[in-house]
Symmetry: C2
Subunit: 472 residues, 2 copies
């Protein structure tokens, strides 16, 4: 299993963990000293200062406005493209304009998968155009396309139990009904390899979403090493359900698939912005998001919002002259979408000093109204975070979710035992837009971004400033 496969597993599994909302427990009362509780409570003035500044004061609307300017200027920022590198340069300039100059970029090799022409036509029982988006790293079809009968498969068990002659030479369509991203997403990430192993000539997956206006959702997938690389794409809920109904009636469905794409590697950069700590500058509280996006949509939600609430943290602290004990580091990961490439490179490069990461945070599941944090760490770490979250009752952001593998990129680091958290937010509609042409500024809300930036910044400040390190 190469690191890309591992990355994809993280992306999908991290979002599928059984998550337990932590109740205020006796355990926490035992683990936290009265002094620490008192110390955390003493941050209410800083909390008020930041919240007022961002939600009602000078910074009001700034996160949305800066995100909109960025997204409108660059649009989609796929891994390996010049536009992604230009957007990284832009973020550096934007940060310097705030008189924050501790900025470094770290180069790494990233994949560049380029979508070409894509078309699927249903030929039988009637001619119908089928909307699609090829999946990341999908190979092209032959120039004449692939024309074959489809077989609709509900899950991998059904695939494995199917006689080889039912699959061989066919187009496999997976039609898992959406439950969670993690549970359903495996049919996107692994579907092609599993179908190819049984002799399928192409595989299609019902888009990984609970809702659609005939919207296909792209996303990453990887080929296992021992199978034929077959073309693979996502089609819409509507078309998969149509094909399922037709085949259930005993009719044959024949599709013609034409897809082109190319693959290359390029150099990209992780961007690291430091607001140095006043006492323990080597100790890091990291806030982060990924700057690359899919090639469809505008990358406003995934993960423009995440990079801008994380960018806002040092900016707001700097503007308010709030310099915490430890360093607040913002990381803009590159090349997340094709397998957490930037995160793996960072972890590897900094492995000898990663013990300096006191806490690592990421926002990559939407920047809707903040509700709290999904936290990885030991019991005491979670109790400390839960105590900090009590400060956010007024904005309804006090919920702690226990999540052993929060976020996407940061799971690479929290899985080494370092405590961290992902932004828990009111993202019920996140997957409606995820990896589609609908990932645009229209998903974002100015006030919710203000709340998110204020919350994110305050949490990072408190963790960076309190007298004790987050235990591990």
């Amino acid at each position: 299993m190469n690191i890309y496969v591992l990355g994809l597993l993280f992306i999908t599994l991290c979002l599928s963990q059984a998550k337990v909302i932590k109740e205020e427990s006796d355990t926490c009362r035992e683990l936290l000293s009265d002094e620490l509780i008192k110390e955390i409570g003493s941050y209410e003035n800083v909390r008020d200062e930041i919240l007022n500044y961002v939600i009602e004061g000078e910074f009001k609307g700034k996160t949305y406005d800066e995100l909109a300017k960025f997204v409108d200027k660059f649009g989609a920022r796929p891994s390996g493209t010049e536009v992604l590198e230009n957007s990284i340069d832009y973020m550096i300039e934007l940060t310097r304009a705030e008189d924050i100059n501790d900025i470094v970029t770290e180069e790494l090799e990233v994949p560049q998968w380029t979508r070409g022409e894509e078309r699927i036509t249903m030929l039988e029982p009637r001619v119908k155009s089928i909307s699609l988006l090829g999946l990341g790293r999908s190979v092209s079809t032959p120039p004449e396309g692939i024309t074959a009968e489809v077989v609709v498969i509900s899950d991998f068990l059904e695939l494995e139990n199917s006689p080889e002659e039912d699959i061989k030479g066919k187009i496999v369509i997976y039609d898992p009904v959406y439950t969670t991203y993690g549970e359903t997403g495996v049919y996107r990430t692994q579907g092609a390899s599993r179908a190819a192993a049984k002799g399928a000539v192409a595989s299609l997956v019902r888009s990984i979403t609970p809702f659609s206006i005939n919207s296909p959702h792209t996303g990453a997938q990887t080929y296992n090493e021992n199978v034929t690389k077959i073309p693979t794409a996502a089609i819409t809920l509507e078309d998969v359900d149509l094909i399922r109904r037709i085949t259930k009636r005993g009719e044959r469905v024949v599709l013609k698939i034409e897809m082109t794409s190319s693959y290359d590697t390029k150099i990209s950069r992780n961007t690291i912005i430091d607001l140095k700590g006043r006492e323990k500058p080597e100790s890091l509280v990291i806030v982060s998001g990924h700057i690359d996006s899919w090639d469809v949509g505008q990358g406003a939600m995934d993960d423009g919002g995440g990079i801008f609430v994380s960018w806002a943290a040092p900016v707001i602290l700097k503007r308010l002259n709030l310099q915490p004990r430890r360093t607040v580091r913002t990381i803009l990961w590159t090349a997340e979408e094709l397998g957490l490439i930037g995160a793996y490179a960072y972890e590897e490069k900094h492995r000898d000093e990663n013990h300096n990461i006191n806490f690592i945070m990421e926002s990559d599941e939407g920047t809707f109204a903040p509700l709290g944090l999904a936290v990885a760490g030991n019991q005491q770490a979670r109790c400390i975070i839960a105590e900090i979250l009590k400060l956010f009752k007024s904005i309804n952001a006090s919920t702690l979710i226990e999540d052993d593998s929060p976020g996407s990129d940061i799971a690479v680091i929290t899985n080494t035992g370092i405590p961290g958290a992902s932004l828990h937010n009111a993202n019920e509609r996140y997957f409606w837009f995820h990896h589609t042409e609908g990932d645009t500024m229209n998903v974002e809300d100015e006030h919710e971004l203000d709340l998110g930036a204020a919350f994110w910044t305050t949490v990072a400040y408190i963790i960076a400033d309190i007298s004790i390190d987050i235990p591990r």
Copy 2:
């Protein structure tokens, strides 16, 4: 103003009326005799028989299944196409299979507007593909396309007040924020003519919807006789809002529009299915929907659901041996989408006998859970309908909305003073899918269609069977 323009005004205005939910009033108690109230109440047994048969009995799921088979077989059924005519033949066969043979079709000339290739590219300030759907009857661009700067206009007042040099040679983009279909829809139906009158070279409209996943919504429009016909299309909320933001920042936006289409006329048919009344067969209670659809999507919601609940009425009554006093007539209107063409032809052809229409109903605003009826008619007529609706409290379908111009096609007839009603249903999301690729079977719900068919059939039966005519 030609009848097409009038038709479009109906389509949009009918859905925009200020609608008043009728409270049980003293007036109704004065207008309805105790005997009539008692007579209406006596239909509770028939109501139970129909509701049980459709919701729990042998007909359960039938409306959805038949709709799905129809929609899956034909897909979109645009006016003037062979597929529309084939779908009409199919409905006739389906009806005959129920041993209902009083079926006639009436030919009329209908427009055929055929969408060709369509593409819009933003050239400045950056290159971006803009999703679009040309509007009905739009002319083509020159082969080389139209490349021009845009001017974003909020409403017709702003357009009228703009100096001609600000509009001349430009592409006008209307960005009204969606309020109601009627209020906002005029920018789609009349936008091109109004912009052309000021010298614009093309006009685009923010899709008429409150919600989008980058989904363009097509629809009808007409050119006034005294203006240049300029190409016109709908683009997505997302792209209009993007362009608005860019222009607000003082930047120029340049688009290249390439559109082709063709226009012709063909012969189509209204389909009339009668379940003859046992005492007054010349007196009609009409239930209806339109069988044509836009060329995008599958015409499942608009108006597949409407034709199938209306088709179900005579079928269910026939199956249950319920022959009312008056005739229950199902009409499948043709060519609604380009201006109520079938309805105008029917009204004209039958003008001398339209006094025989006792009551006329249409379902063309979705077949989600039925809530009641939107009723046109005098006070006494509305009171009778309100009394009938009381029988549907158990399925939450007792609401009467006063609507002087309900439905789309039937407004042509109710506007001559004949009482009628449109299906009032839980259609909050109707315009999310309306005239888009998302108008598919996935919008439809089996149980809601059962409720709708049962409600529609029972209401039609009672009105067709009670001792008095609906007053006018």
